[in-house]
């Protein structure tokens, strides 16, 4: 008899394969949004603010400052939100997880596969703002190849966060609290549109705990020069992803196994 282990790669790939099969039916709209949104932000902030109020931030042209910062925006909106809504819909309305868990798949493998799939997608979408910014004069650098890696790890953490939220709420409209109280503040105080050094000291300290701020710093490092402290930032994101992964599995087990 075939021995059955934990976290079997074939099973994780099969669950991801289900996501891929579904994604093929709606990828166009997702790719459209992911490309078009950074363009809109770049035009509005980069060119609007950049040409009228702010010329540069620490020697970086404002449009490039915003463009590199938008990677974090793309990552959080293509990981936390799809994880929240996708998980809830599959669990509650489509009963997809009932079907998957009736096969030889356990919750640990299911959650891991969902996180990896969202992480991969977000790693790709996270690069779009960077590519768009290149049209506004951002020079390609070899270290930019690290951006998808940074995006992937951060997206894993936010995917796990989204899954945890979805496994914890009773009704889908409770997501509004999470987006307003968690996602939006994290997104605004990440140093995407303005350097956090302009914030009051207390907020600056808090921003250090914002994974999106750490991602913004890492991406700007990859574009304009990395710093030894960036290794620490990356280690922080990796730890967060690991902790959130276990938390998501725990919450989903409570939700799915009655």
């Amino acid at each position: 008899m075939r021995p059955i282990r934990r976290l079997e790669p074939a099973v994780i790939l099969a669950v991801m394969g289900r996501e891929m099969a579904n994604f093929r039916t709606f990828w166009k709209s997702t790719v459209f949004t992911s490309t078009f949104e950074p363009v809109v932000y770049l035009l509005a902030f980069g060119l609007g603010l950049g040409t009228t109020l702010v010329a540069d931030v620490d020697g970086v042209e404002y449009v490039q400052f915003v463009g590199t910062g938008l990677v974090a925006t793309a990552v959080v909106f293509s990981s936390a939100l799809p994880a929240m809504f996708g998980t809830f819909v599959k669990e509650r309305f489509q009963r997809t997880y009932d079907a998957i868990l009736a096969a030889p798949v356990d919750v640990e493998e299911l959650v891991t596969a969902e996180m990896l799939w969202i992480g991969l997608r977000a790693a790709v979408f996270g690069c779009f703002p960077l590519l768009v910014t290149m049209f506004f004069g951002l020079d390609p650098e070899p270290t930019m190849l690290l951006v998808p890696v940074f995006a992937f790890v951060t997206a894993l953490a936010f995917a796990a966060f989204g899954i945890t939220v979805a496994a914890s709420v009773a009704k889908i409209d409770q997501f509004n609290y999470v987006t307003t109280l968690v996602i939006t503040p994290l997104f605004l105080v990440a140093g995407t549109f303005f350097p956090i050094e302009q914030l009051p000291h207390g907020l600056q300290v808090l921003a250090q705990f914002n994974p999106l701020y750490q991602l913004v710093e890492l991406v700007r490092g990859a574009c304009f020069g990395l710093d030894p402290v960036d290794a620490l930032r990356f280690a922080g994101l990796l730890t967060l992803a690991l902790v959130m992964w276990r938390l998501a599995i725990n919450r989903m087990t409570k939700r799915l196994i009655i």
Binding site: D98, P104, I258
Partner: protein, 296 residues
């Protein structure tokens, strides 16, 4: 070795004992119908057989595996057809099957898809998205999805609930085909006719327990009788007859607008009105006598 062994199984949800000391053994190669009214604990029992619900107490052995700890191994060898349609509706018919063939680690996914399409008679619709299929086709696909890995044991949870009669008959012949090929089937249902048509043996479940078990014929002999007499008439008259018959020690149940006197062959001459319609005792009589619920 029996395919399924359940001993003293209990599962509580807050104050409700959904499953309350359930014992059941299902031998290999039979189709067992778990017949009971809604809320009898059938679906919860099904969930415990796949490890998706953890019992509060009791023992579960499925295909030789102890559950819940070895649920994953057990699931690898059983197919599950859920009560609610949870197909991926935007994805094609064949992709739905291929995804599950991979989840079950089937070696030759293509062959498994072809074989199950054949069973579900959906080969010519393989490239269509599921939401383009009719209700009956979707139901056949749902069944086929549970067969991609040629399971030894098939769990069918209310396989034809909410379907119109023609689709139901179609599905019955499909399930009957599986049964004759030797797949062990545990099927929960609250339709008497479904149990009568498909089940080799029936376990009647009420309030979380198995209250009777046997072949339909055995159950009818034991819990109903050879003949049932149905009497139609105005309510007052029926109440009067019911009183007289029950006084003579016979059992009576409501049967829509009529009353049904079970084991009518045991009645003293002249007790049963002449206009009564006599018919053979049925599983429906058994069900209603045992559960006190009107049959569907």
């Amino acid at each position: 070795m029996p395919a399924i062994e359940l001993h003293g199984l209990t599962k509580r949800f807050g104050p409700i004992n959904a499953v309350d000391g359930l014992d059941l053994v299902v031998d290999e190669g039979i189709c067992l119908g778990l017949l009971g009214p809604n809320g009898a604990g059938k679906s919860t029992t099904m969930k415990m057989l796949t490890g998706q619900a953890i019992p509060d107490s009791g023992e579960i052995r499925v295909l030789g595996f102890e559950l819940p700890q070895d649920a994953k191994q057990a699931r690898a060898e059983m197919g599950v057809v859920p009560q609610l349609d949870n197909l991926d509706i935007d994805v094609t018919v064949e992709e739905n099957l291929a995804v599950f063939a991979r989840l079950y680690r089937v070696a030759d996914v293509g062959a498994a898809v072809d074989r199950t399409l054949e069973i579900a008679r959906l080969t010519d619709r393989r490239k269509d998205a599921v939401d383009k299929l009719s209700g009956g086709m979707r139901r056949r696909l749902l069944l086929a999805r549970g067969l991609v890995h040629e399971p030894k044991l098939l769990l069918l949870d209310e396989p034809t609930v909410g379907l119109d009669p023609q689709i139901r008959t179609e599905l019955w012949s499909l399930i009957d085909g599986l049964r004759s090929r030797g797949t062990t089937i545990l099927m929960s249902t609250h339709y008497i006719e479904e149990a009568e048509r498909l089940a080799d043996e029936v376990a009647v479940v009420a309030a979380g327990k198995v209250i009777a078990r046997g072949t339909p014929a055995e159950l009818i002999t034991e819990h109903a009788g050879q003949r049932t007499a149905e009497v139609y008439g105005p309510p007052d008259r029926l109440t009067e007859i019911r009183g007289e018959v029950e006084e003579a020690g016979l059992r009576v149940r409501a049967a829509g607008p009529a009353i049904a006197i079970v084991a009518a062959e045991t009645a003293p001459p002249g007790l049963i009105p002449e206009e009564a319609v006599h018919r053979a005792g049925s599983l429906e009589d058994v069900f209603v006598m045992l559960t006190g619920e009107e049959a569907e």
